[in-house]
Symmetry: C2
Subunit: 339 residues, 2 copies
């Protein structure tokens, strides 16, 4: 591997001069600069980032923790984050945690070891205490989809409660008679808020004989399919039209799959609402009615806020931000007026 010494030797200058032209900041005479550039080119020299980082204390990389790359919400989120970071000269190092707190910790440890300059945490299992410890190390952190009490941590959330409420309201308005909500993982504020929204709406609107049930499930497709299956096996609602609110789109796809397997017609016999408005929602069979959150905006915003923190001076006190983005109902084919 060719080092700065090789370049210096070839260009007949000192390594400091080479360093100067590489980093373009200090004054270097025209001729020496050209000599260095030529040497760099001829030797195909690429500076060793580890050595650079060791002295500058900056790695120009950001740790991004997500729960599942293969989940469309996260993969799209990563894409928008990565895009934004790149234009600022930073690189995203992605950690796929599979919803496990243990993995998250391993990754954080590894990323700290790798000296990332900041974190975007879109993975939700970590304890608040742990995240706060992280913040104490003075590494800028942006947290997505969580509630954290800290004035060092920036938080971006969406209005999950409203989304849950709207989903329920829509299902009621469609005329479904019995309602099921597949709850997301309990350790998650987002899931909790969506459920709360759903429940509140149900309590306010239900009349004569209408009823609802909330089943604990997850954000993963297969698990929701199973939950749905076991519920339908035990209970017979063939006579009633059921409205189902899944905690996210992946879960809704699982529901759709199970309904199809049982030849329960959507939206005639059962209506399904998801959450996220993942790219694929419009392609599912039938196209999914869902709550839209603009994923690209969330990704862009989180990267922007992080970069802001990265670029601030030591003594600049930038107050931690706490954003709350809006959501909206998108009606497609998995629900319809049924009365």
């Amino acid at each position: 591997m060719v080092s700065i010494n090789d370049v210096a030797a070839r260009a007949n200058v000192s390594i400091s001069t080479v360093s100067r032209v590489i980093n373009q900041n200090a004054n270097v005479s025209r001729e020496k600069e050209e000599a260095v550039l030529r040497a760099v080119d001829e030797l195909d020299y690429i500076p060793n980032g580890l050595a650079q980082g060791l002295v500058t204390k900056k790695s120009k990389s950001i740790g991004v923790l997500i729960a599942d790359v293969a989940n469309l919400y996260y993969s799209y989120l990563v894409k928008s984050i990565e895009k934004e970071l790149r234009t600022a000269g930073y690189y995203a190092v992605i950690g796929n945690t599979e919803w496990e707190a243990k993995r998250e910790k391993e990754y954080i440890r590894h990323l700290i070891q790798r000296q990332v300059d900041g974190f975007i945490l879109a993975s939700t299992s970590l304890s608040e205490k742990y995240i706060n410890q992280l913040a104490e190390k003075d590494i800028p952190i942006v947290v997505l989809d969580r509630e954290i009490k800290s004035d060092k941590i920036d938080i971006i959330r969406i209005n999950d409660y409203k989304g849950g409420y709207q989903a329920a309201e829509h299902l009621i308005e469609c005329g479904y008679e019995y309602f099921i909500h597949l709850k997301g993982p309990g350790f998650t504020v987002t899931a909790a808020d969506r459920s709360r929204g759903f429940k509140d709406c149900m309590q306010e609107h239900l009349i004569n004989g209408q009823n609802y049930v909330m089943l604990s499930s997850s954000f993963v497709e297969e698990e929701s399919a199973k939950k749905m299956a076991s519920f339908l096996e035990k209970n017979n609602y063939k006579n009633k039209k059921i409205g189902i609110f899944a905690a996210n789109d992946a879960s809704a796809f699982g529901v759709l799959k199970e309904l199809k397997r049982r030849r329960i017609k959507v939206p005639e016999e059962a209506g399904v609402v998801g959450f996220d408005n993942v790219n694929f929602a419009e392609y599912s069979s039938p196209a999914l009615t869902t709550i839209n959150r603009s994923i690209a905006d969330v990704g862009k915003l989180s990267a922007e806020i992080l970069l802001e923190n990265l670029n601030k001076d030591e003594n600049d006190v930038v107050k931690a931000q706490n954003k709350n983005l809006d959501v909206e109902l998108i009606i497609r084919e998995s629900t319809a007026q049924v009365n």
Copy 2:
């Protein structure tokens, strides 16, 4: 940031002793070891990976280049690669190239700078010459979905030709009368092979009046939707049942979308076959008939081969591998017998 010196001071030992217990290889007395471990714990010490990498010349990270994280084929591929690497103590650094050669080069440069120990290249625009230059630097490389002439580079491919052939055959057997193939990007061997398979099959089987056309398109959903739209606008095949082979699933989804928009019934009036058998293929509307490649296997295999190269001794000569994985037709709802 706490360093090895702080730990050494606190534990009343030299930094070498600290280093020894951190790396668990050399002999350290029971008591000193405990003292170090306690200090590490109390100070919450995490070694600086940049410094470690600088001296060991290993970063324990692998550069993984993909064309689009938000594409289900790639996101699932990344997931399986990451899983395999992690169990071996390596971490994946993902580069999202958006199908642009320029971006690929930028990423490779950056990853070399970051001293990655190896590459998995699943991004396809790079010139063969460039990849070979990379290999000359003696960095282990595994290339996916490409043909490269080199005895240093491991290659994993699938039988794209067979897939294309089978897709065409199936469409013909279903009884469709006019055939359209939306070709993938031309700079891609995979797309070329799929097209060749399609074409060969057509040539062999077509009789009296049947006909086919190959349109250049891409692997991206929107573009294929547009191609499909402009073709349908110019040509009127209302009277004929058309069989469509899209170069990959994403493209097929785009086709499905356009067909739906025009109220062309699938599979009655038009049949659609994709390629990849992405997770969502079974959820699309209608569920997609496609060519299955087992993505998880490809990911796992590529990581395994790379790790093999990473772990070999200097003088071990491991011959570059050249794997070719099989594919199979999966029939779902987007095609059916129509005669």
